[in-house]
């Protein structure tokens, strides 16, 4: 039972970061209809930028954290303007390939600046674990869950109440109607990419604090696909629920199945789930079904 709870907790921690990254995913898809294969690389860039600020420029962590958020927003703006805007109205395959190309550019940028070696964050969170009943949790886990939940809550409120959030929802619903109501669709697209980069960057900082930082962090982006599909591609609550479910599922398989079948099952099981969902309920738990008319 203790083992189960331990797995559950670590699953929720990873799951909350999945949820954060999935939020960015769902957001971009909802607002712009683009699926972003570079989301994992956004996360990696966030982790590296914050790491560089902390360990190379010796800026205190929390200031570096805020600066990272600023940097990711600016990068999001640049990417939207340079690469994504010309692609409006292009077929899906082009857009997919464009974000894949973007991911290799970002990966290569990180490799050129920081090299391929593993890096670790200096000790930021106290290593004294906290005991919650039988479960032992390290503090960095609590911080990441806390921040993930904070950001998820903030963005949920943002979409519900702020005028920019409502504008984004309007664009997601119907671009032409939004345009005729005086909403700048371009601005909304730019904002969607900024927010997606921002949440991925925040996820990256915490993931970097939990694990080591290296280029394979980019792979995280592909592992978020099962989470968003499970939740429904265009649903923000779906992204959160899907992220948590996939995180827990992964931890459970890692704990119970890996010793029996052999390593790597943990990595592949979310994709098996993905195929099953796509076969049974392709629009996920909360997604809107696309209906096509001739």
């Amino acid at each position: 039972m203790d083992f189960f709870l331990q797995l559950l907790v670590s699953g929720i921690v990873v799951g909350s970061i999945y949820a954060l990254v999935a939020l960015g995913f769902a957001l971009i898809f909802k607002a712009t209809g683009v699926i972003n294969f570079a989301q994992g690389e956004f996360l990696m860039v966030g982790a590296y930028v914050c790491l560089a600020l902390v360990s190379q420029l010796h800026i205190p962590f929390w200031i570096a954290f805020v600066l990272t958020m600023v940097v990711t927003v600016v990068l999001g703006l640049i990417i939207e303007r340079v690469a994504l805007r010309p692609m409006i109205g292009e077929p899906i395959i082009s857009i997919i390939m464009l974000t894949i190309g973007l991911s290799s550019v970002l990966k290569s940028g990180v490799l050129i600046f920081w090299g391929p070696n593993n890096r670790v964050y200096p000790q930021i969170f106290s290593q004294v674990p906290i005991h919650l009943g039988p479960v032992v949790i390290s503090q960095v886990y609590l911080w990441s869950v806390g921040f993930a939940l904070l950001f998820l809550a903030l963005f949920t409120l943002f979409f519900r109440y702020s005028s920019s959030g409502i504008a984004m929802r309007a664009v997601a619903n119907d671009q032409q109607a939004a345009l005729s109501m005086g909403i700048s669709v371009k601005k909304v697209f730019a904002m969607a990419w900024c927010i997606a980069f921002l949440v991925a960057g925040v996820g990256g900082v915490f993931l970097g604090n939990i694990n080591v930082v290296n280029v394979s962090l980019g792979f995280f982006g592909l592992k978020v696909f099962p989470a968003v599909i499970l939740g429904g591609l265009d649903s923000i609550p779906g992204a959160i629920v899907g992220g948590l479910i996939i995180g827990v599922l992964e931890a459970m398989t890692g704990g119970y199945l890996d010793p029996i079948i052999g390593g790597g099952t943990k990595e592949v099981i979310p994709f098996v789930v993905l195929v099953i969902i796509l076969m049974v309920k392709p629009y996920g738990l909360f997604g809107t079904e696309e209906i096509e008319k001739v």
Binding site: I96, M97, I100, G101, V105, S108, V268, F271
Partner: protein
């Protein structure tokens, strides 16, 4: 060679369907084929190696182009299908002792079967969702390649012999070139012929508007599966040729990166153009080799360039994809047609 006619003077469908429209193109195709036979004799082993890789890539890219370029079904799992072909052929030849020339088509057929299985979801899924489903297929097949150690020997890699036929072994780059070139020409002919048949027109109809295609009486399920089968058949052939050429295969050779490279080939070359697959394959194989040569000559001035080579290669790869998508979305095949159209009436190009 008064070969070019300025305009269409065709009076029957049969004339319109002819593969080589003019004497001019017939002449150049023949010249090209003769060159393909003669020139390799004078090439060194490195150049031949690059040519062989191009040939194998052309076969794979043709397959992907039929599926993605002509039928409009996005596949992010082409690398894994290459892997299935490679392992199938390796298993048939090395473990079961079947001769290579039987194992090669068998590998293609086995891969086609796998492709059809993973094509089944395509009936319900399209666009993005299909892309993600094939991405899942890629990861699942990769996992199987690592874990089915009885067949694949897992991460340790599987040794494969050069192919031989009646005691004649294709063990040098030159001999292998003739094998690859023959199969690449056959594959090109096959692809070219498929797209001008009923099935090919059905593929294009599905790509352009699947609902209208269905209304016109195109059986979506049948033709989508057929496209998956053709595509993975060619992927399997390419994988098999690749396995027998590099002689040791591990699951790392068939990752998502390979799938992306093949997609890049058809995008850069031109989707929905047979010649696009050829241009794209040549481009994508030559690019890293050219970069290697360039970084080698620059390393005298900038020693750190050798360490950064992998990173720079990745970055340039990404930039080229983005550049093509933004500035030349129809790929090199489109540019090629423009050049041809310009010279057709030159110097009176109006």
């Amino acid at each position: 060679m008064s070969a070019h006619i300025c305009g269409d003077y065709k009076t029957s469908y049969k004339e319109d369907m002819v593969l080589f429209q003019t004497k001019f193109s017939k002449f150049w195709i023949t010249a090209f084929l003769i060159a393909l036979c003669v020139v390799p004799i004078f090439l060194d082993n490195y150049t031949l190696y690059v040519c062989n890789m191009i040939g194998i890539a052309i076969i794979g890219a043709l397959g992907l182009n039929i599926l993605t370029g002509f039928t409009g079904q996005i596949s992010l799992g082409h690398g894994a299908f290459l892997g299935i072909g490679a392992y199938a052929s390796a298993y048939l030849v090395m473990d079961l002792g079947i001769p290579f020339f039987i194992a090669l088509p068998c590998a293609g057929l086995i891969t086609a079967m796998f492709g059809m299985v993973f094509g089944i979801p395509s009936l319900r899924l399209k666009g993005l969702y299909l892309a993600i489903a094939t991405l899942a297929a890629q990861f699942i097949i990769e996992y199987l390649m690592v874990h089915m150690e009885g067949i694949t020997n897992g991460v340790l890699g599987k040794m494969v012999d050069f192919p031989s036929f009646m005691g004649f072994s294709f063990d040098t780059d030159l001999k292998y070139f003739y094998l690859v070139a023959t199969i690449a020409v056959l594959a090109t002919m096959m692809a070219k012929n498929i797209v001008r048949t009923r099935s090919g027109r059905a593929f294009i109809a599905i790509r352009d508007q699947y609902i209208s295609a269905e209304v016109m009486g195109v059986n979506l399920f049948k033709y989508k599966l057929m496209a998956f089968a053709f595509s993975s058949f060619l992927a399997g052939i390419a994988g098999s040729l690749w396995a027998h050429y590099v002689t040791i295969i591990t699951p790392e050779h068939f990752t998502i990166g390979v799938s992306i490279q093949y997609l890049a080939m058809i995008i850069i070359g031109g989707m929905g153009h047979i010649i696009g697959s050829i241009f794209g394959a040549i481009f994508m194989v030559l690019l890293p080799e050219l970069l290697r040569v360039m970084s080698g000559s620059l390393s005298g001035h900038f020693p750190m360039i050798v360490n950064l080579f992998a990173a720079i290669k990745e970055g340039i790869f990404g930039l080229i994809i983005i550049g093509f998508l933004v500035y030349e979305p129809d790929g090199m095949a489109h540019r090629w047609q423009m050049i041809k159209a310009y010279w057709k009436l030159w110097p009176f190009s109006y």
